[in-house]
């Protein structure tokens, strides 16, 4: 059991680091409603001719597909801007992308708003085998992250087992798990 505990930790060490950084970063995220997107870091344009029969939602879907953005997790907030141009947003692990379609000029403007490394890790820590961008690298990390989640549960339980099996008589450890239990129960009751 001790070996499995150690090997699990070694194998999932990268995920541990990502989770730890994400948890610390999350504390400093703005409160709901106060989030502001990163500044525009670069722009790209590509020509696109809208099919005459598509409505705004369908057109946004087609433009999104034509853009072939990497690490994207879908488009949302399809709307018209102040100049009546079709606009929508795309979430990617590397930051949001804002699309504007200038129909008269038959061109699409994409604004890239690259986020920081902490934001990227925060996004990646949510990946699993069925969630995340369809890119191969994201799927690869999703498999690792999901495996690491199971390993984390195993390590939590096996860690207690190893303690009880090897050093059960330590009074301070017994007191600590007792205090932890009481504090957790109080905090649980406080939110329930």
């Amino acid at each position: 059991m001790k070996r499995l505990h150690t090997w699990s930790g070694l194998l999932t060490f990268t995920a541990f680091i990502v989770w730890g950084i994400t948890g610390i970063h999350a504390v400093f995220l703005p409160a709901p409603g106060e989030w502001k997107p990163p500044e525009v870091s670069s722009t790209q344009e590509f020509p696109y001719e809208a099919p005459g029969s598509a409505d705004d939602k369908e057109l946004a879907k087609r433009i999104y597909a034509a853009a072939e953005l990497k690490m994207s997790g879908g488009h949302y907030n399809v709307h018209r801007d102040d100049d009546q141009n079709l606009a929508f947003n795309v979430f990617t692990s590397n930051g949001p992308r804002n699309f504007t379609y200038f129909e008269d000029e038959k061109r699409v403007l994409v604004e890239f708003r690259d986020g920081g490394v902490a934001g990227f890790l925060s996004s990646m820590h949510t990946a699993h085998t069925r969630r995340g961008a369809p890119d191969f690298s994201a799927r690869m990390y999703g498999v690792y992250n999901e495996f690491s989640t199971w390993a984390f549960l195993f390590m939590s339980l096996s860690g207690v087992y190893v303690w009880v099996a090897t050093r059960p008589g330590m009074p301070w450890a017994r007191i600590l798990i007792g205090v932890t239990t009481v504090v957790t129960i109080i905090m649980w009751l406080a939110v329930r």
Partner: protein, 191 residues
């Protein structure tokens, strides 16, 4: 040094044991949610209030918190033509309120989730900006738990290395995990 690191590893593991269980289980709930039953229970009711206390959405919310035992963060305040809407949310329980200004009745819908979904809401509850003190306390626990996770990893790595057991196979496993995980991360960042 070895004993100090071993005890530190044990202290961190025990101190954050329940935190680890909540975060591990909630992560699995998120992953396998489509296969899990929806344990949410919705109830609707109407309660009586003194209209004089409801001069604004915020004053009404405070009245409900002080005298009607509703607890949580005040969220989603909306004032429509003749209707005030807002929510009082805490992990595991969200209450939607509707109030017609001047009346003495408040309609409310309470959505209460089971323990698994409450774990998920505790998982995503972060920061110290909450109006509801226990939510900020859980935010503090998340911060401490995250720091503890990094220290658990570091002390665990140290213990494995100095104990001299399975250093060869351990090295292979560690390198495989690092190469696989970091390759996927860096590749995802670079595209």
């Amino acid at each position: 040094m070895f004993l100090w690191m071993r005890n530190t590893h044990l202290i961190l593991g025990l101190a954050f044991f329940f935190f680890a269980i909540i975060f591990a289980v909630s992560s699995l709930v998120i992953i396998y949610r489509p296969w899990l039953p929806d344990a949410r229970v919705d109830t609707e009711e109407t309660i009586q209030i003194d209209a004089a206390t409801a001069t604004s959405p915020r004053s009404l919310a405070l009245e409900l918190m002080r005298n009607h035992d509703f607890a949580g963060d005040l969220r989603q305040v909306k004032e429509e033509d003749d209707l005030i809407k807002f929510q009082i949310n805490r992990p595991g329980t969200h209450v939607n309120f509707e109030y017609v200004p001047g009346s003495s009745e408040v309609k409310l819908k309470t959505m209460r989730w089971g323990w698994t979904e409450t774990f998920v809401q505790l998982h995503v509850n972060h920061g110290f900006h909450h109006d509801f003190l226990p939510a900020s306390a859980w935010g503090a626990l998340s911060l401490l738990g995250s720091i503890g996770l990094l220290l658990l990893g570091a002390t665990g790595l140290y213990l494995w290395f100095v104990m001299n057991e399975d250093r060869a196979i351990g090295s292979v496993i560690l390198v495989f995990g690092l190469v696989y995980g970091l390759t996927a991360l860096i590749w995802s960042r670079m595209v």
